[in-house]
């Protein structure tokens, strides 16, 4: 086995039971993520992306299959999740939210202060540190979520459509902020998105899922040099091609005719 693997998922299956009717949310999902890799998951709505992330984050039990998150540094938390929405705790100030993970694991006071301040500045919320979430905008709340996860300094980050509910302009700014923070730390990231542009901009690799029951049907390596900028990604003809390809896949997946054209797709068998 590759010693550089950080996340290993094998045959992960999840069944939900609603009133005695089983719903298969995930169907034998297998993949690996390398240490320091930024991997995106794209798939039609309801294909089980959130479910997959929740299982990996320890918030849900798998019905079958195994997964492993490899721990390298016993002093750091293994993983933190950035939730799809509403993850910022309303009764804590911006500052308390960012310090939440550090406080819960009783990090030294000086470290809490330093890391919280650093990431508050990083996401441009220093002036708003004493505000409550109800007093800031949706985009700012999502910044709080991101700062909280990075301040906690985990080895792996799970992000569930962190920018889905944000307007285009703010989304671009946040994506570039995320990139710049990530390039500093090179944490392993598993990132869910509906936006092909976002996946192309951020990822080293994109995993495409089928519609429900979710399986991983394709993957594509994005070997654009970093640091990347949105404009550069947009201008790149290869990326334009990749965009159309993923777009077609999603269209087919939504319509249900899974006419997968494997040949164009790279490469590593999983």
């Amino acid at each position: 086995m590759n010693p550089d693997v950080k996340i290993r998922v094998e045959g992960l299956t999840k069944l939900f039971f609603k009133k005695k009717v089983g719903v298969c949310a995930l169907d034998r999902v297998s993949f690996e993520v390398k240490n320091g890799e930024f991997v995106s998951l794209i798939g039609p709505s309801g294909c089980g992306k959130t479910t997959l992330l929740r299982i990996l984050a320890g918030l849900e039990e798998a019905s079958a299959g195994t997964y492993e998150l490899v721990r390298d540094d016993p002093n750091k938390p293994l993983q933190s999740m950035i939730f799809q929405e509403r993850g910022v705790i309303p009764w804590m100030t911006v500052e308390e939210n960012v310090a939440f993970g550090l406080r819960l694991r009783h990090a030294p006071k000086a470290e809490i202060k330093e890391r919280t301040e650093y990431y508050l500045n990083k996401v441009g919320l220093w002036e708003f540190r004493r505000h409550y979430p109800s007093e800031i905008s949706g985009g700012m709340k999502q910044r709080v979520s991101i700062a909280r996860a990075f301040a906690n300094d985990p080895e792996i980050l799970f992000m569930d459509e962190p920018f889905a509910a944000i307007d285009e302009q703010n989304k671009f700014i946040l994506q570039e902020e995320l990139l710049s923070i990530w390039e500093e730390t090179h944490k392993t990231v598993l990132f869910i998105t509906h936006s092909i542009d976002e996946a192309l901009l951020l990822s080293d690799r994109i995993l495409l899922m089928s519609r429900q029951p979710g399986r991983i049907v394709r993957e594509k390596t994005i070997d654009l040099p970093r640091p990347r900028r949105i404009t550069a990604v947009r201008a790149n003809p290869e990326m334009a091609e990749a965009f159309v390809d993923i777009w077609n896949h999603l269209q087919n997946a939504v319509r249900g005719s899974a006419l997968e054209r494997r040949d164009e797709w790279a490469l590593e068998p999983i």
Partner: protein, 270 residues
């Protein structure tokens, strides 16, 4: 174009102004209506249009109040009643909060206790007073127990409801960041339930006042309830009215105190 905007802005201000002034105008109404009623009462009573034995003129009630203050009678009755109210209130509120949090957080405790509490709630604690007196004796403590018994129910039920109302995503966030039992209690359940809990405490406060008067009528030789009861029996209704006004005043005072406390404890709302 610019002109239009300016006009629009102006009319906005014009619309906003009366809205801001309105509360002040209505506030004078709030003050005027009880004064008018008192004035009417005074006139009707003096003109013997209503029976002055049942409805002594307000001015004579005020005079009686000052007489009781001068003899020092009021001070001792008020002091002893306040002692019982505050003691009984705390005796009911503290377990109410603790048990309410447990019911909200743990399913087994909810199943074990919640139906029991719902079944016991309709029983008036006052009806149990004879037993309470038999067990604890005729003393301050038995009055506190009676008050605690009636304060407990709205607090426990509202606290449990407050916890159940917390968006489960915050529990997931806490879990993901490694929360321990104590963290769920103090960082999620308690602050999250606080707004609804305080409504319950407000109700409990009102019930405490209702209960103290009745409790002091049954087995006591001091307190505001005792004052009301003895004067009622002696047909000195002036003194009874003084007692009633005192109770009403304390009710108002306590609810202002709790509103103030709410602002301190729930700063994140609005």
């Amino acid at each position: 174009m610019d002109k239009d905007v300016a006009v629009a802005a102006k009319s906005l201000i014009a619309h906003e102004k009366p809205k801001r002034e309105a509360p002040n105008r209505y506030r004078s109404l709030t003050l005027a209506s009880p004064l008018l009623i008192l004035l009417l009462w005074e006139c009707l009573s003096r003109l013997s249009l209503i029976d002055a034995r049942f409805f002594p003129p307000p001015s004579s009630i005020v005079a009686e109040f000052f007489r009781l203050v001068a003899t020092g009678e009021i001070a001792s009755h008020v002091a002893v009643s306040l002692y019982r109210i505050v003691g009984g209130f705390l005796l009911g509120v503290v377990p109410g909060i603790v048990i309410g949090l447990c019911i909200g957080m743990y399913r087994p405790i909810r199943f074990a206790l919640y139906p029991l509490i719902m079944a016991l709630m309709p029983i008036p604690t006052l009806a149990l007073m004879p037993i309470i007196i038999l067990v604890f004796g005729i003393n301050d403590f038995s009055k506190m127990i009676t008050i605690a018994g009636s304060v407990f129910f709205p607090v426990v039920i509202n606290t449990a409801a407050g916890v159940r109302n917390i968006d489960p995503v915050f529990i997931d966030v806490a879990k993901n960041y490694g929360a321990k039992t104590k963290d769920y209690f103090f960082k999620i359940a308690l602050p999250g339930a606080m707004p609804v809990m305080i409504e319950g405490i407000q109700m409990g406060q009102a019930i405490a006042l209702l209960t103290i008067v009745a409790a002091e009528m049954i087995g006591a030789n001091s307190g505001i309830g005792y004052l009301i009861w003895t004067d009622y029996k002696a047909f000195v209704l002036k003194g009874m009215y003084v007692g009633l006004v005192l109770i009403s005043f304390f009710g108002y005072f306590f609810s202002l105190l709790l509103r103030w406390l709410e602002k301190k404890l729930v700063p994140w709302q609005r």
